[in-house]
């Protein structure tokens, strides 16, 4: 693994290894000295061409916990707003010897371009590009689901996948890079994914995805789900009429108090996930967001662990392809 651009590139073994490492990284957050020296003296650049609060803070925390030097680079207030191209920005980063680049970009494929163009040698980590992929979000969701299942079964997470876990992803799949990355990663890890959305918010060609499609949330929930993942209705991308009104969306596809009560009545262990930021009262009711089923805060905590694991795997190991991986005791 040289870059992390998309969860589609990850094998099951790579994904499980990342999740195992992330579990260990999570323990660091509980310690008094919340820092590991693994990336001491390495420089990581956070290149954010699109607004983000939680992903940027999460990456920055992860980088600092691994002792890397962090350079934050936001499009606003930088030369990007003066019209500098991605290529020139990349070559600037190369010239200051960045050891890794974390990039968020509104254009789908920008991280891929950065990684394969030859402009820079450093590993590239995709922190969300357009409507394409958001691999670290999918990894943190998988980590949260894995913990959830281990907690219910009283077992250990180490080495396990998500075989047989039923996960419903509900909402705006069309614009969601979170949904795309989750579909591929959850499929690789053996979970059974159901997408629930109005037909207007499903992309063309969904028949080729390894998922079941359902238009009726109640029917999907009645079939029994181990987890429900709500997607944010992205108001900034709602430039066409995808559904008649917010009220109707909420009634038909939102996790309302009534649907929460139905889950309680069924006595299921269904967990609730949301990538944040939540539109309370739209795709998720406050009752659901604040219920004991909600793993939203676990997701935030796990985000730091997963990003530490990704940075660790990309920035350690033989730097030259044929160097002997010898281990001195």
């Amino acid at each position: 693994m040289r870059h992390l651009l998309d969860t589609r590139d990850l094998s099951r073994a790579e994904a499980v290894s990342l999740l195992d490492t992330a579990d260990r990284m999570g323990e660091v957050g509980q310690r008094e000295v919340k820092k590991l020296p693994a990336l001491r003296g390495r420089t990581v650049v956070n290149l954010f061409f699109e607004d983000s609060t939680r992903t940027r803070i999460s990456f920055e925390t992860a980088e600092k916990r691994l002792s890397a030097d962090v350079i934050n680079f936001a499009a606003k207030g930088s030369s990007i707003s003066k019209g500098e191209s991605l290529k020139d920005t990349a070559q600037t980063l190369e010239a200051i010897n960045a050891d890794a680049v974390v990039i968020r970009h509104p254009g789908s494929g920008a991280p891929q371009r950065l990684a394969t163009s030859g402009w820079i040698d450093a590993p590239v980590i995709n922190a969300g590009d357009g409507t394409h992929a958001h691999p670290t979000q999918a990894l943190l969701d998988a980590m949260t689901l894995r913990q959830h299942r281990a907690r219910l079964g009283g077992t250990d997470t180490a080495g396990t996948d998500l075989g047989g876990l039923r996960v419903a992803i509900v909402g705006d799949v069309l614009h969601s890079r979170v949904a795309r990355s989750n579909v591929w990663l959850l499929h690789t890890l053996g979970a059974e994914v159901t997408l629930v959305a109005p037909p207007t918010l499903l992309p063309v060609g969904i028949g080729e995805w390894p998922v079941t499609v359902e238009y009726d949330l109640d029917a999907a929930l009645r079939r029994g789900q181990d987890a429900v993942m709500l997607l944010r209705i992205q108001r900034e991308r709602m430039n066409a009429a995808f559904f008649p009104s917010a009220e109707e969306y909420s009634r038909l596809w939102g996790l309302t108090p009534e649907r929460l009560a139905a889950l309680e009545a069924a006595g299921s262990d269904t967990a609730i996930l949301h990538p944040g930021p939540m539109n309370r009262g739209l795709e998720i009711s406050s009752a659901a967001a604040d219920s004991g089923r909600s793993l939203v805060l676990d997701q935030v905590t796990n985000g730091v662990s997963v990003r530490m694991a990704v940075l660790y795997h990309l920035l350690t190991g033989p730097q030259a392809p044929h160097e002997e991986g010898h281990h001195d005791r």
Binding site: L36, Y312, G317, R329
Partner: protein
């Protein structure tokens, strides 16, 4: 050393290496019994004693030593005086060695501050693992004393580090490798507990 100098020509795995068993299960057990008494002697009792095994094979050795100490001396509870210390993130070869998944670190509830820590590992070689362990420990507390117990000391130190308690000093050459098999890690498939030296077979460059 009942099986010493036994050359294995063509084992089922087809590894083209000569494997010599240096310690068998009974030898390992006797060495650990002696080390456990030495540890208590050096510590002048079991007070404040903490055994920290280094994953992966140091931990089961530390557990065995802890059980032996608990069986022979009053006042030592393995639950309070046994832990595991992962050193992966503190290694100095992270940029050269293959990227490895870290193992859990579990310290006794009372921590290691002011206590007498004995690090336990299977093979002492360059000393770099122990250097990493000393760094890792500094992030968890400040022990009063740190000692080192190893099952095998194979020489070739690259740092000024020595063991306080050694199961067996084993002179080796650098192109040999020393392999420790323990039931807790290698399972039934690994065979009986033993320590082996693998010498590269002449004219063969295949590695298992």
């Amino acid at each position: 050393m009942s099986e010493s100098s036994r050359a294995t020509g063509g084992p089922p795995s087809g590894q083209p290496q000569r494997a010599r068993v240096i310690l068998d299960a009974a030898d390992i057990n006797r060495a650990l019994t002696r080390i456990s008494h030495e540890i208590v002697e050096a510590n002048k009792g079991t007070e404040d004693l903490v055994l920290l095994g280094i994953p992966r094979r140091g931990y089961p050795l530390a557990r065995r030593i802890a059980e032996k100490i608990a069986g022979s001396y009053e006042g030592f509870d393995p639950e309070l005086g046994l832990g595991q210390l992962d050193v992966t993130m503190y290694r100095d070869d992270l940029r050269r060695s293959t990227s490895r998944t870290p193992q859990p670190t579990r310290l006794p509830a009372r921590g290691i501050d002011g206590r007498n820590v004995v690090l336990v590992d299977d093979v002492l070689y360059s000393g770099r693992t122990i250097r990493a362990a000393l760094d890792a420990m500094a992030d968890f507390g400040r022990p009063a004393v740190v000692r080192l117990a190893v099952l095998i000391d194979r020489g070739h130190r690259q740092l000024p580090i020595r063991a306080d308690h050694v199961g067996k000093n084993l002179p080796t050459s650098v192109d040999e490798s020393v392999k420790v098999y323990l039931e807790e890690i290698d399972g039934a498939a690994g065979g009986a507990d033993r320590v082996q030296i693998l010498a590269p077979a002449a004219g063969s460059e295949d590695r298992p």
